[in-house]
């Protein structure tokens, strides 16, 4: 008899375990993986949809098995995405040099005369075909500084979603405004922008320094970083760049924390999240792009351009706390769906 009871207990435990495996209606199941794997997994049918940065969105579309069901421009028009951040805010000389190289590179990208060269750089940087790059470039806006009013939404939504564990007061700021002013450090950009408006060929003083810069795997948003290296903008201001690749923005923030990098290109969501949660003292000195992500579903699946139909589906994101996770949570909330793993 007692043996039977023991057996029943074990069986009950197993059965509850089985039940967890099923997906409830009204839930989106998320899995974290690198964007490179997403394209492959979507093809194999292991996932039903993914949210990723370009050029992986276009790659899935061009290769014929993915369909965009919402671009990030649909979800949140003109949303800031990647930014340039640094832990060396007080080193004005260094920051000026970095911002100058970034602004020059961004203007190079946005100049229609350079189109051919830009596409070639983009192909080299991401390793994707011309067709994929051309499609991807139409969905990215390369900017020099993020729209501050929009950027604040990251902070507000992260707080609302229960992602933030600390308040700005705990970090030693008097108020949110006080924090944001320190975090969104626009002064240097304004200075550089002003100088360049006066004289297009203005250049800051050479710093003669090695700087370690982080970036994300084949993230077309961060093309300005690659262009700045290739066009020799860093060299011109005396910077030797050591590039360090990261899988997603959250991992890159770990890089900042562990002192692996001084400057980094990364998403606004992880930057804000880890700035507050782990008190990693970075400031945003420039913007890289707006928009440029999308939710892609498999062509043959039953998802038909509507978010509601993501219910009960398995969706991949590059990591928890990334811009893409953030975008998915935005649409899920609007459609009344719950995010789970």
């Amino acid at each position: 008899m007692k043996r039977l009871i023991a057996l029943a207990v074990i069986l009950a435990v197993i059965l509850t375990g089985c039940q967890q495996a099923g997906v409830e209606k009204g839930e989106i199941r998320v899995v974290a993986m690198s964007p490179r794997d997403m394209v492959e997994q979507l093809k194999l049918g292991e996932i039903d949809a993914f949210v990723a940065w370009e050029p992986f969105v276009s790659e899935a579309v061009v290769n014929g098995n993915g369909k965009i069901i919402a671009t990030s421009a649909d979800i949140w028009p003109n949303h800031p995405c990647c930014v340039v951040a640094t832990t060396e805010k007080d080193n004005t000389e260094l920051v000026t040099a970095i911002v100058w190289a970034h602004v020059k590179a961004t203007r190079f990208i946005n100049n229609p005369e350079n189109r051919e060269k830009v596409i070639r750089y983009a192909m080299e940087f991401t390793g994707k075909s011309r067709e994929v790059i051309e499609a991807a470039m139409t969905r990215i806006k390369f900017v020099e500084y993020p729209d501050e009013e929009e950027f604040v939404k990251y902070y507000e939504n992260l707080e609302k979603g229960g992602y933030l564990k600390r308040s700005v007061e705990e970090l030693g700021y008097e108020s949110e405004d006080d924090f944001l002013q320190d975090f969104l450090y626009k002064e240097v950009y304004e200075y550089v922008n002003g100088k360049l408006a006066e004289n297009e060929s203005w250049m800051p003083e050479k710093v003669n320094k090695t700087v370690r810069i982080g970036y994300l795997t084949a993230d077309l948003h961060q093309l300005a970083f690659y262009v700045a290296i290739k066009e020799g903008y860093y060299e011109q201001v005396g910077l030797q760049v050591e590039a360090k690749e990261f899988a997603n923005g959250v991992m890159e923030m770990e890089g900042f924390k562990n002192g692996e990098i001084e400057v980094g290109y990364l998403g606004g969501a992880p930057a804000t999240l880890k700035r507050i949660n782990d008190n990693i003292r970075i400031s945003i000195i420039a913007g890289a792009n707006s928009e440029g992500s999308a939710i892609v579903a498999k062509d043959v699946s039953s998802i038909e351009s509507s978010i509601e139909e993501l219910a009960g589906k398995k969706v991949a994101i590059p990591g928890f706390g990334t811009v893409q996770d953030f975008l998915l949570r935005m649409v899920a909330e609007r459609a009344g769906l719950r995010i789970t793993v």
Partner: protein, 248 residues
């Protein structure tokens, strides 16, 4: 005495918390009890759900491991020529930690759907198999010689000797093998979940809590859940041992 141990542990914990970023015991306890049945916002699951997911994988893999390790252990202890074949293999593979199998498992199981989950089950299988096998083997091997001799003097058929002498003696080995095997399997699954995206499970929970940042209390609560489940698993099996072998 046990109570004193608990008090000492709590005291030490407070002491360490005072000097480090380790959250205070009562903060962890609060987080633990809240998350036990309320889903945590980032992953949208409760601690119980994560524990169930991990436990499910461990039980599946361990049952598989035990169903091979137990018969194999008894038979290879019983049959001397089989011992010669099996033991060198086991002794060669046993020192390889389960986690060292992870990359290989990914390569081997890549063609299957759900590669990550299958690999995790395989890793737990490896973790649970060897302690169970060794324990069963040792107990089956150490059947008192005089009992065997006596049985043979009375010309008992081999089948009877196996059933009435070897099997009851190996039972102790089976019970402790299952207990140790499950323990090692439980440790392996947590570690395996931390390495790859498993979607759910306590190891994954702890890892994501670290990545998102600022959640030390959640991390420690997850660890507490691992300990609690492990403790109860052990306790349950000790009880079961007494049920199965009342003579001990």
């Amino acid at each position: 005495m046990r109570l004193r141990g608990a008090i000492l542990l709590t005291f030490l914990w407070y002491l360490i918390s005072a000097f480090t970023d380790l959250p205070l015991p009562h903060e962890v306890a609060e987080t633990f009890f809240i998350l036990l049945f309320n889903s945590e916002p980032v992953l949208g699951k409760t601690l119980v759900q994560h524990a169930a997911a991990s436990l499910f994988r461990v039980l599946t893999a361990s049952l598989l491991a035990f169903s091979i390790a137990i018969p194999l252990g008894i038979v290879s202890a019983w049959n001397r020529s089989l011992t010669e074949i099996v033991m060198p293999m086991v002794e060669a593979l046993r020192p390889i930690p389960p986690l060292a199998w992870i990359p290989l498992a990914y390569v081997i199981f890549a063609p299957l759907p759900n590669t990550v989950q299958v690999s995790q089950i395989f890793i737990v299988f490896v973790g649970a198999f060897f302690p169970c096998f060794v324990s069963v083997f040792d107990y089956s091997r150490n059947v008192p010689e005089e009992l065997l001799e006596m049985a043979r003097v009375f010309r008992a058929p081999e089948r009877l000797i196996l059933r009435d002498i070897v099997l009851p003696h190996s039972l102790q080995g089976v019970m402790s093998g299952v207990r140790i095997g499950l323990g090692v399997g439980w440790m392996s699954i947590i570690a395996a979940e931390m390495i790859a995206t498993s979607g759910e499970g306590l190891g994954y929970f702890i890892l994501v809590m670290y990545e998102v940042g600022g959640r030390t209390a959640e991390i420690v609560a997850g660890m507490a859940m691992i300990g609690t489940v492990g403790y109860f698993m052990n306790w349950l099996l000790l009880k079961a041992e007494r049920l199965v072998m009342p003579w001990r």
